[in-house]
Each structure stands twice: as structure tokens, then as C-alpha cells.
């Protein structure tokens, strides 16, 4: 049944087979995508026509690698630009929210906490359209009543930032709260007794303690923002982010340059994930 109990060989063998099949299922699309980034062919498919770096560094005319692919590079830049802003905003607000829910007491705290969790169970598509509609309503109001044209309320950079921020902040809040729950509050009392004020205590004691989880939350926020599709789809203006730009290329078929992009993304996100996991483990 479990490792400390006697198990029949057939039970163990059946389980091993299941696990092997599962890992093949889990990794085959990823490995195939990565390997085909190096195939010297115009299509992301077999047969294998030899190893090449052209889908990364090729200058054309037939094989244009990602580092010379202006349109895709522009969308990568847009994604990074959005992700940095979302990461900064959601990390700051998320950390404040976890202080609010873990260390403060106020009326309707339960209701507000419930509301804070809501973005996790609202489909991303609905977050996208509702923010689009609301921004449009506010924009129209300013236009008609006050005669001010607020450009940032139209589809584009800021709406994408708002849309992603709306649910990523919840994730950051939960990541930071998990660590803040374990914080020994007598440390704060000690600092108060030594004459520190509230903000010195937060800055020198609590935030220092929270640093690993804030860094972890920021890393998750960056990855989620960079890869978001569903919410962004409705809010994006003329500067498409990478997932939006890739979507049409994937749907209509393209050269293995997509595999090269995927290769880089898989590598970067795995590195961030493993680093976050290990620094998180170490600090515990």
C-alpha cells in the first residue's frame, strides 16, 4: 500500500508503468518543441534535416531567427514592458494587502478578504471584458461631462496593466501572507520597547523577514504577466504582447522560429521557477 508496508510486485510494477506513462505524457510536447527549434527545416516537423542555430540567429533571407525577427522582438519588448509595471504594482499592493489582512483589524474584514480572493474564481476572460467596459464607461463620462479625453482608458498599455494587476495582486497577497502568518510578533514588540516606531518596525523587522516571499511573489507575478493571454486579449491595443502575437502564428502555422521563442521561454521560466522553489525552501 505504502512504502513501509509489503507490496506485491504486480502492484509496484503497475504503478511504475503508470508513472512512466505520465511523465512521457507530461514532457513529450515540451521536449519535442525544444528539439525542433534546432531543426534545419522550414517547418516545425520531422524529418530531421540537421542541426542549426538559424532559428535563433539567422539573418534570412529564408530563415529569419528570433533575434532578427523585428515583429516578434517588438512583442517581446511590449510583454516585458507590461510585466515590469505589473510586477512592481502588484508586489507593492499585494504586500500591503497581506499586512492589512494579517496584522490589522477592522469592520467587514471577512467580506473584504472574500473579495480579495474573488479574482481567482472569476474567469480571466470576464475580468478582461468587465474592465474594458468599465474603463470605456469612465472614459465616456470624462469625455462628455468634463470634456477631458483620458487616452489611457482605451485599449492599450494601461488597460493591459490594470487587467493583469487585478488578479496577479491576489496571488502575490497569498504568497506574502503565507509567510507573514508564521512571523513571530514578539519581535515587533521587542523593537517597540527599544523605541522604534511603527514604520521603523515594518521596514527593519517585518519586511526583512518577508523578503524571500516578496521576491517569490514578484517572480510569480512577472511570469504570470508575461504569459497572460485570456485577460490581455480584450484589453490589448495596437502593441500586441508576445502571447497575443504568437497566437495567430501558432493557429495559422509558422516556421520553427516559434520553437526558438518557446525554447527561450521554457528555459527562462524553468530557471525562475527552480530558483524561486529553492530560495523559498532555504529560507524556511
Amino acid at each position: 500500500m505504502i512504502r513501509t508496508l509489503p507490496n506485491s510486485t504486480s502492484y509496484k510494477a503497475a504503478y511504475k508503468l503508470f508513472i512512466v506513462l505520465f511523465f512521457i505524457f507530461l514532457f513529450s510536447p515540451i521536449i519535442v518543441t525544444m528539439v525542433l527549434a534546432f531543426n534545419n527545416s522550414m517547418y516545425p516537423s520531422l524529418p530531421w534535416q540537421g542541426f542549426t542555430w538559424k532559428w535563433f540567429f539567422g539573418k534570412g533571407p529564408d530563415k529569419i531567427g528570433i533575434f532578427h525577427d523585428a515583429a516578434n522582438l517588438r512583442s517581446i519588448y511590449s510583454s516585458i514592458h507590461v510585466a515590469i509595471t505589473v510586477t512592481i504594482l502588484s508586489t507593492i499592493v499585494g504586500t500591503m494587502a497581506s499586512f492589512l489582512f494579517e496584522h490589522e483589524d477592522f469592520k467587514f474584514k471577512g467580506t473584504l478578504y472574500f473579495l480579495m480572493l474573488a479574482p481567482l474564481v472569476i474567469p480571466g476572460v470576464i475580468l478582461g471584458i468587465s474592465i474594458l467596459l468599465f474603463a470605456n464607461a469612465v472614459g465616456t463620462f470624462f469625455q462628455n461631462v468634463l470634456g477631458i479625453d483620458l487616452q489611457f482608458l482605451g485599449p492599450g498599455y494601461w488597460l493591459v496593466v490594470f487587467g493583469q494587476f487585478s488578479f496577479i495582486t491576489t496571488v502575490v497577497t497569498m504568497t506574502v501572507s503565507a509567510r507573514l502568518k508564521k512571523f513571530d510578533r514578539t519581535l515587533e514588540d521587542a523593537a517597540y520597547n527599544l523605541g522604534a516606531n511603527k514604520f521603523q518596525v515594518i521596514w527593519f523587522i517585518t519586511l526583512k523577514y518577508l523578503r524571500p516571499s516578496i521576491a517569490g511573489g514578484a517572480a510569480i507575478a512577472f511570469l504570470m504577466s508575461f504569459q497572460n493571454f485570456n485577460t490581455t486579449l480584450f484589453l490589448v491595443g495596437s502593441n500586441a504582447t508576445l502571447p497575443i502575437k504568437l497566437f495567430t502564428q501558432v493557429r495559422d502555422g509558422s516556421t520553427p522560429v516559434i520553437n526558438a521563442i518557446a525554447f527561450i521561454l521554457i528555459l527562462v521560466s524553468s530557471i525562475i521557477a527552480v530558483t524561486t522553489l529553492f530560495t523559498g525552501k532555504k529560507s524556511e
Binding site: 513501509t4 499592493v93 481567482l120 474564481v121 471584458i129 468587465s130 511603527k198 501558432v250 518557446a262
Partner: protein, 289 residues
């Protein structure tokens, strides 16, 4: 001392609560209310908005709309159950059967694809399964296929894709609760002569139910709200409800109809989560943790 401390706490409360209120009201509450309001108005001139139930009436009178809706709901439930059927034995193996040394390794390895975006995961399946894809080439060379078959664009492939993109959201919470399950409970039951099925039914399942619920909610939400996977892997006539919303909003530019669809989807997801929590007697706040 005590008075000055409570005074200071009030200041910090104001500082912490202001951004949180701005976030939750400006980006969550008001937009949802606007969505609800828009869904009850017709597509007249902006100044002359007229109250109407027409957007909801269209949903119920046009079979294509409500059929897609029902289909999306049923498929999402099916995917959630399939994911559960795979994740339970898998996480049980990783936490309880695998050797202690391999356990940590398996936990890390199983989580790597978790961080890879849905689009790239689906793309991987597309180059594997399409008519000129890797699996076709492989099966042809083995002589199992006589000619290439299109393995994409059907319901089974779409289901598999949805299981693939969502299963790690079940595995993560399940590994957590399985790890905290005390082995000696299972050992005791075993020593007293309980069968495997009894141990699963009486000990393991009841213990991991909170993990199952948080996993199921995450998986269900993800699948219900998915746009990419059904669009890229499903058949041409296999509409997903999110695509219906996209079509109304962006292609027909009928925001009121799109708002009505959006609100119906929101209602459906809240209702199913509510019912699931009631049946298993779980608390939402604890399940989300």
C-alpha cells in the same frame, strides 16, 4: 503607551487599506457591476440607452448559444473529473510510495511544466498531433498507420489538451495535503486487515478532500475560462463559450450581448463552485487557503 499604539495602528490601517480598496473596487467590483448593467441595455445610441432583456432572451432562444453554454459546462466538469482520476494515484505515488530520495526530485520535475504558458503547451501538442506531425511520422514508420491521419481538431484531443494544461493545478494542492497525511493511519488500518479500497474510501479520500476541492475549483475555472486550447485543438464546429463571448465583443462589436454572455458565465462558475462546496461541506476561504 497603549493609547499611542492604538493611535498609530489606525494610521497604518488607512495606509494599508487605501490601495487595497482602490484595487478591489475599481478593478473588480465596479467593472462587474458595469458588466451586469450593460447586459440589460440594448445597442441604441450611447446617450439613449434603453433597458431590455433582449440580450438574455437571445441566449435562450438561439440554440447555438445555450447549447455551447451547456457543452462548455459539461466538458469542464468532465475534464475536472479526469484530472482528479490522474492526480490522485500520481500524488499518492510521489508522496507515499516513491523512495524518500526520489520524492523530492519527482516533486520538482512534475512542477516544471506548471510554469510554461498554455500557448506553448498547446503548440507542443499541435506539432505532435497534426497530420504532418511527429506522432503520425512515428506511427507511419512503424507501419501502424497506412496513411497520415489528422489527430487534431476533434473532441477527444481537445479534452486531452484541457486535461494537460490544467492538471498541475490539481497536483500542487494534492501533493501538499497528501504529504501531511500521517502514514501511521494507513499502517494501522492495514494491520487491522482493511482492504486497499477501504483505506482509500475511509482514510485517504476524506483526509485529502480540502486539497481535492481547491484543485477542482482551480482546474474547473481554468478550463471553463480557457480560450486557447478549445480554439486551437477543438474541431471547427466545436465552439467554446469564451469564444462566443469573444465573437460578440470583438467581431460583432455587440458589447451588450457580450456582457450578457460574460455575466452568464460568471453566474455558472459561481453556482457550480457553490454547489460543489455545499456537497462536500467545505469552506471557500479554507479551500483557497
Amino acid at each position: 503607551m497603549k493609547n499611542s499604539k492604538t493611535h498609530k495602528i489606525r494610521w497604518s490601517l488607512i495606509i494599508f487599506i487605501t490601495p487595497v480598496l482602490l484595487w478591489l473596487f475599481l478593478l473588480i467590483v465596479f467593472p462587474q457591476l458595469e458588466l451586469l448593467k450593460m447586459s440589460f441595455f440594448g445597442t441604441g445610441l450611447p446617450g439613449k440607452a434603453n433597458f431590455t432583456f433582449a440580450n438574455y432572451a437571445a441566449f435562450f432562444t438561439e440554440p447555438i448559444y445555450w447549447l455551447t453554454f451547456v457543452r462548455t459546462a459539461l466538458y469542464s466538469i468532465t475534464v475536472t473529473l479526469l484530472v482528479l482520476a490522474i492526480s490522485l494515484p500520481l500524488t499518492f505515488y510521489i508522496t507515499k510510495i516513491a523512495k524518500i530520495q526520489t520524492q523530492g526530485f519527482l516533486t520538482v520535475v512534475v512542477l516544471i511544466p506548471f510554469w510554461i504558458s498554455e500557448l506553448i503547451q498547446v503548440y507542443g501538442w499541435m506539432i505532435l498531433l497534426r497530420e504532418s506531425g511527429i506522432l503520425n511520422k512515428f506511427l507511419l514508420s512503424l507501419g501502424i498507420f497506412k496513411q497520415p491521419h489528422e489527430l487534431l481538431y476533434n473532441n477527444v484531443t481537445m479534452l486531452m489538451g484541457l486535461v494537460y494544461i490544467s492538471m498541475l493545478f490539481m497536483i500542487v494542492p494534492l501533493i501538499g495535503v497528501m504529504q501531511s497525511l500521517d502514514d501511521s493511519l494507513i499502517e494501522a488500518a492495514y494491520d487491522l486487515g482493511a482492504k486497499k479500497i477501504t483505506i482509500w474510501k475511509k482514510i485517504i479520500i476524506p483526509y485529502v478532500t480540502p486539497g481535492i476541492m481547491s484543485g477542482s475549483i482551480l482546474v474547473f475555472m481554468l478550463v471553463l475560462g480557457s480560450y486557447l486550447t478549445p480554439k486551437l485543438m477543438g474541431g471547427k464546429n466545436a465552439l467554446w463559450f469564451t469564444e462566443q463571448i469573444y465573437n460578440s465583443m470583438i467581431i460583432y462589436f455587440n458589447w451588450n450581448q457580450g456582457a450578457a454572455f460574460g455575466f452568464l458565465l460568471l453566474l455558472l462558475s459561481s453556482l457550480i463552485i457553490f454547489v460543489a462546496l455545499k456537497i462536500t461541506r467545505q469552506d471557500f476561504r479554507k479551500v483557497i487557503k
